[in-house]
Structure formats: structure tokens, C-alpha cells
């Protein structure tokens, strides 16, 4: 099964996919922005500042999702010694890191009108900052360690250690008394957010997911060409 993940087979798809994903992303983002900025209602307490949720929440979700995926792929690559999994993890990291930064910055912007402060050393916010540090260490390790085997090993360790922080982020609002509110969107129980706000949130999440797929595909193709460049040097 792992052989179907060989770069030679995947490249036929990944080289063509970006233009279609970009097209789809622009359409979904346009609909999402229209919904989020103009059509969705304002909140009875937070007024229009609630609209920041449509960029803040999907960014946080995606950054957590990508890091979890990186950790899973790193573990698989560590066990099965499959290079392609570490290549996929490496290509996922830039968009995950960007979404982490967006979640932190838009969270700070949202914090000012709602809490009266840009920043608080609250459990949720601090654990998200720690996630950003893990992302930075992960990305920097690929740059610092030129030896591929060594880089794969170190980045895998960082990802596996860093993923411990993911459930801490998720449950921080339940475990500690935080300034950050508890989750409004729940998979296993009733969601406390109104459908008129849930729809734009879902559309924006879809748009952001498409963007992370787009960046992943472009980065993956770049990494693959880099490997092929090294191959040409040996000929």
C-alpha cells in the first residue's frame, strides 16, 4: 500500500492539481468573504467584532489539524522508513505555521474590543504560542540540518513531542479558568452557535482548507524537483 505513495506516481497528479485548487479556492473564498463580512448577522453582545471569528477560528482549527497530521506522518515515516511521508510532512508545515500565526494575530485583534487587551497569558493563547514555537523549530530544523536522514529524524522528534500540546490546546479552556471562551462548535454534542453564523464559518473553513492544500501541492512539487535536481547532479 505504501508503494502507491511513491513520488513518481503522485507527481502526475500533484503537478496538475494546483491550478484547479486555486480556481476552486478563489470561488469558495469569495463566497465566504461575502457571507462573513456582509451577509452574516452581528452578535447581540459583540456586535460586528464577531466577524473576526470567521478568520480566527478556521485558522486555529487548520493549524492544529496540520500539526496533528505532520506528527502522524512523521511517526509513520519513522516506523516504515518511508521518505515520501517526511516529504509530505515538510510540505504541509509552511501553511500550518501561517495559519497558526493568523490565529494568534487575529485573536489579539479580536481580544482588544472584547477583553480590552491585545494579549493575556491565558492557557489557550499561551498553548497556541507554544504550538507556533514547535512549528518554528520544525521548519528551522529542515533548514539547519543539511543531512537528510538527520533532518528527518530531528523533525520527526519535534513533531511527535509537539503533538502532546494539541490536546492541551483543545482542552485548555475546560481544564483551566481562562479568558478565552469554551468551544461553541462541538462534534459530539450540541453546537451553541446559530446556523446563520455556522454557514459562513463552514464556508471560510472550506476556503482555508483549500488554501492549505494549494500551498501543500506547490511546496511538494518544489521539494520533488529539488530531489530531481540532486539526481541530475549525480548523472
Amino acid at each position: 500500500m505504501l508503494k502507491s505513495f511513491e513520488p513518481n506516481k503522485i507527481f502526475a497528479i500533484t503537478s496538475r492539481a494546483p491550478k484547479y485548487v486555486l480556481f476552486l479556492f478563489i470561488i469558495v473564498l469569495s463566497i465566504g468573504l461575502t457571507e462573513a463580512l456582509f451577509l452574516s448577522p452581528e452578535d447581540y453582545k459583540q456586535s460586528h467584532s464577531v466577524r473576526i471569528m470567521y478568520v480566527h477560528v478556521p485558522s486555529a482549527w487548520i493549524s492544529l489539524g496540520i500539526f496533528s497530521l505532520i506528527a502522524f506522518l512523521s511517526l509513520v515515516s519513522f516506523i516504515f522508513k518511508n521518505k515520501n511521508f517526511s516529504l509530505i510532512s515538510k510540505s504541509l508545515a509552511p501553511s500550518g505555521f501561517l495559519f497558526n500565526i493568523i490565529a494568534l494575530v487575529t485573536g489579539a485583534i479580536w481580544g482588544k474590543p472584547t477583553w480590552g487587551t491585545w494579549w493575556a497569558w491565558d492557557a489557550r493563547i499561551t498553548s497556541m504560542l507554544i504550538l507556533a514555537l514547535f512549528y518554528s523549530m520544525y521548519l528551522l530544523s529542515w533548514k539547519i540540518f543539511r543531512n537528510e536522514k538527520q533532518a528527518t529524524k530531528i523533525t520527526s522528534i519535534i513533531a511527535i513531542l509537539g503533538v502532546i500540546n494539541v490536546p492541551i490546546i483543545k482542552f485548555s479552556v475546560d481544564w483551566w479558568s481562562t479568558l478565552h471562551q469554551t468551544s461553541s462548535v462541538k462534534i459530539l454534542s450540541t453546537t451553541s452557535i446559530h446556523i446563520s453564523m455556522l454557514i459562513p464559518l463552514a464556508i471560510m473553513t472550506a476556503a482555508f482548507t483549500l488554501f492549505s492544500i494549494l500551498i501543500f501541492l506547490m511546496k511538494y512539487n518544489t521539494e520533488l524537483i529539488k530531489i530531481k535536481n540532486k539526481g541530475l547532479d549525480r548523472l
Partner: protein, 77 residues
């Protein structure tokens, strides 16, 4: 109407700056990634051009190499 959309009951500065930051970040990452891709592909084409007879045959036999070169040709059209 337009003033209402811009000011958003005094929250406009926060809302617009959050959305602007997000979209600018998207644009920056997209262009940086695109530039890196084009740079690597240019390097590949240059290296491919420097290969001699036998090496060209070996390189051309690999499907990924063919796909990369196809991509260069189709993006020029």
C-alpha cells in the same frame, strides 16, 4: 450605507485589519511558494540542458523528469 460597512459600529478597524492581515498573509505565502517552485524548475531545466548524450537518455527515462519538462513547455504556451 458604505460608511456603515466600513465603520461596523466602531469595530471596523478591528474587523478590516483582521481580514486584511489574513488575506495579505495568504498572498505572501502563495507568491513565496510560487517563486521557490519557479526557481527550482529553472535550475532543473538548466541542469538538464548541460547533460550529455547518455545522461540525457537516463534522465528522460524517468517519468517525473518528463513531467517537469512538460510543465515548463505548457507554462510557456
Amino acid at each position: 450605507m458604505i460608511n456603515e460597512i466600513i465603520s461596523m459600529n466602531g469595530y471596523g478597524i478591528y474587523v478590516w485589519s483582521a481580514f486584511s492581515f489574513t488575506l495579505m498573509s495568504f498572498g505572501s505565502l502563495f507568491f513565496v511558494t510560487k517563486l521557490q517552485f519557479l526557481k527550482e524548475r529553472r535550475k532543473f531545466v538548466q541542469k538538464f540542458g548541460l547533460l550529455n548524450g547518455e545522461a540525457i537518455k537516463v534522465a528522460k527515462s524517468q517519468k517525473v523528469n518528463q513531467k517537469i519538462l512538460e510543465g515548463v513547455l505548457s507554462s510557456k504556451i
